[in-house]
Subunit: 428 residues, 2 copies
């Protein structure tokens, strides 16, 4: 029988406590599946006294996660503290420096320091595994890095932030506006301490940056993402989109182009009959496209103690089984320096604007679009209220640049009130 | 640099040719991802002269797959011939006897001989990998065996035969009956040489048996499946189900119960708004449920050269990376002997029968159901034609046994014409 695999777990929030619980409850199953006992040597968290609903008395306690990472009786450092810098990064680096493997759920740390950590890990022959960092319980890191290893990946898409999808789908279901649903999500504890991480698309962007690296063999490049949150999506947009057969999602899209890596995380329209369009509430969905496999769709819980702990355990079992490999699918030294490419691929766009009640207003808008080279597929004008009329337009395929020109030109006319909204319609 | 991984590929149908194509086209990518060159030493197929659209001139040719398996320059025997016995099994056994790893897409062989082959492989320290045997391009074997390794699996479900789903969804879409769509599927080349493998549920049953073993730690037990094909599903059933908010799917379900392992592959009703209900055409979908992760849904192409070759390459890459492990997730010697348990868990049922135009006919049917302990949730009677009226009933939850009693009793009444139909409504 092999030696037990000895863990040091730093961070005992809901996920950390969930991991401890599974290791206690499923000890026999884990040993049968990996051929080794999986044991916890020591744990670390901010407060020792807090009741976490799990018996920690048989594990040593370390108040300092760096000290935990350095313990001789720790083979694998399990980092579940979070935060892109600070103790999480310091302890991870300490573990790697001593040749210990790391399992982490920390998307921010990997999105910002993934390349440096991968280099450090591979220099010592260590692995860093991070299934829990992307899309919670959905084993997308494994599917992308191993299950589709024979594919040239052509596109990665996904709804990767459950809170945003909860807000957007509940706006439509309840008819309440963004602010009301934001407040509800806050009350339900769905939002990060800094809510902008969620609604600003940053958390989802971290996940997209990690998947991009794995998919396209490039260094993680969070800064290269065209990032836009859901704060400006209105109930009117959601209803108008629904009227025309679409749903609005905070959608991540990554694609390698001849000009570089295109990464977008922004509200998009998708057909309401597509799997992405039908995704309700806090569930996550990842769509992976490869030259051989075609399209693979993965759906599951993107957060929560159980699903995230499930992902952490997947990584731990891989290490126990001796399944090792480079952090981002190929050696960090061979990953390309990413060239961030702004989206130039044509797409249809959804435009919403408010027209003032002036003669020829609609003709003026149509003329502006025509001059910018944007042609109209469908248009709806609703009735005037207070001398203003909402107008919705779905364009034929055009570029972001041409749309930008059209929007700028519209603001200089005297017939459009306020800022027009433009959302990309993604072909899924 | 590590030694190249040398393959012998037996079977050059669409999948085999697809595998050769990917290995030729993506040589650099595969080497970057696995750290080793992946090369083909020799190939084997029935006819040497056939044009397969891929250049085979640089590989040795073996007319005998057993000889291919035994070659010194073959590290991994890739079995893509199919057939549960015969050359596929003989060559696989020959490879294992010499300590060579095996990659196979052969669901029939694994469903019938999986345990013996696993024992043989593990005795020699070999692996048998078979991602392509279940659900084509969907990496469900990897997700179940590795991605959810921290979970006690509570249920496995899925639409695993694209041809059956094609027939069922096109019956509804076109209003044609089963026979017409069967003929169309045949014309399109969607059916196996023995069509009963598809429409009789056998092919899908093979896949379910393999997933069950992996999920529940039991020996593969194809014979333990309650198996029923789609041949008796009528257009009337599909329309009536749609009327009541359901779709009919050939659905595989495996669950461990206190009485043993329940495995069913049969036409079932699922809500039309569920991911399974929305699955159109030849696409496959697998739903995995675990105690920690909740529900994970995987969707993708279940057949075809590209998707299946993608799965074969995933296995080859795993072996190239040194990712090894027991064939069915834990050592074959520790797999439980399965106890096949017929389904006793209560479910709602859909019943369709034809009533003769006699006074009190409906009352008689209701009485028979009541006597069998089956209570009615919803009932619809349609108008009489030729003195016969179709009646649809959705029951409250009841057992298969009680439904059986009710159906038997109905046939002894003088008011029901022909055989009543009962389909389980699966909670998904």
């Amino acid at each position: 029988m092999s030696q037990p695999l000895r863990l040091g777990i730093a961070g005992l929030g809901t996920v950390g406590a969930g991991v401890v619980q599974i290791i206690r409850r499923q000890a026999a199953l884990l040993e049968a599946r990996t051929g080794r006992a999986v044991v916890i040597s020591a744990v670390s968290a901010r407060s020792r006294d807090k009741d976490r609903g799990v018996n920690l008395s048989s594990y040593d306690w370390e108040s300092d996660p760096v000290a935990l990472a350095k313990r001789e009786d720790v083979d694998v450092f399990v980092e579940l503290m979070g935060g892109e810098d600070g103790p999480a990064k310091a302890a991870t680096e300490a573990a790697l420096a001593l040749g210990k493997d790391v399992v982490t759920a920390n998307k921010a740390m990997l999105a910002m320091h993934g390349q440096a950590l991968a280099v450090a890990a591979e220099a010592r022959g260590c692995v860093i595994k991070y299934e829990a960092a992307v899309a919670g319980g959905i084993p997308v890191v494994k599917v992308l890095g191993e299950g589709l290893a024979g594919n040239e990946i052509t596109r990665v898409m996904g709804v990767m932030n459950g809170t945003c999808n909860y807000i957007l789908t509940h706006m439509e279901a309840t008819g309440q506006g963004y602010n009301a649903l934001f407040a509800e999500a806050e009350k339900l504890g769905y939002l990060e301490a800094d809510p902008n991480l969620d609604v600003g698309g940053i958390d989802a962007g971290h996940k997209l940056a990690i998947l991009s690296s794995l998919a396209f063999g490039t260094q993680v490049n969070f800064e290269g993402i065209e990032l836009e949150g859901i704060q400006r999506v209105t109930l009117e947009d959601i209803r108008a989109a629904a009227d025309m057969g679409y749903k609005i999602k905070l959608l991540g899209v990554a694609q390698m182009t001849g000009r570089g890596l295109e990464q977008r995380m922004q509200p998009c329209l998708v057909p309401d009959t597509s799997p992405l369009g039908q995704l309700q509430g806090g569930t996550n969905m990842i769509v992976l496209e490869g030259d051989a496999v075609g399209q693979i769709v993965l759906r599951g819980a993107g957060a929560g103690a159980g699903p995230t702990a499930s992902a952490v355990l997947s990584d731990i079992c891989d290490i126990a089984r001796g399944h090792r490999g480079p952090v981002f699918g190929q050696p960090a030294a061979t990953l390309d320096t990413p060239i961030a490419a702004l989206s130039k691929r044509p797409a249809a766009y959804y435009l919403r604007m408010t027209l003032k009640d002036k003669p020829g207003a609609l003709a003026k808008v149509a003329a502006v679009l025509g001059e910018a080279g944007v042609s109209i597929d469908r248009m709806r004008q609703y009735g005037h209220e207070n001398d203003q009329a909402p107008v919705l337009i779905v364009t034929h395929k055009t570029t972001r640049v041409d749309i930008g020109h059209a929007l700028s030109a519209m603001k200089t006319t005297s017939v459009v009130a306020g800022d027009p909204v433009a959302l990309r319609i993604e072909e899924v």
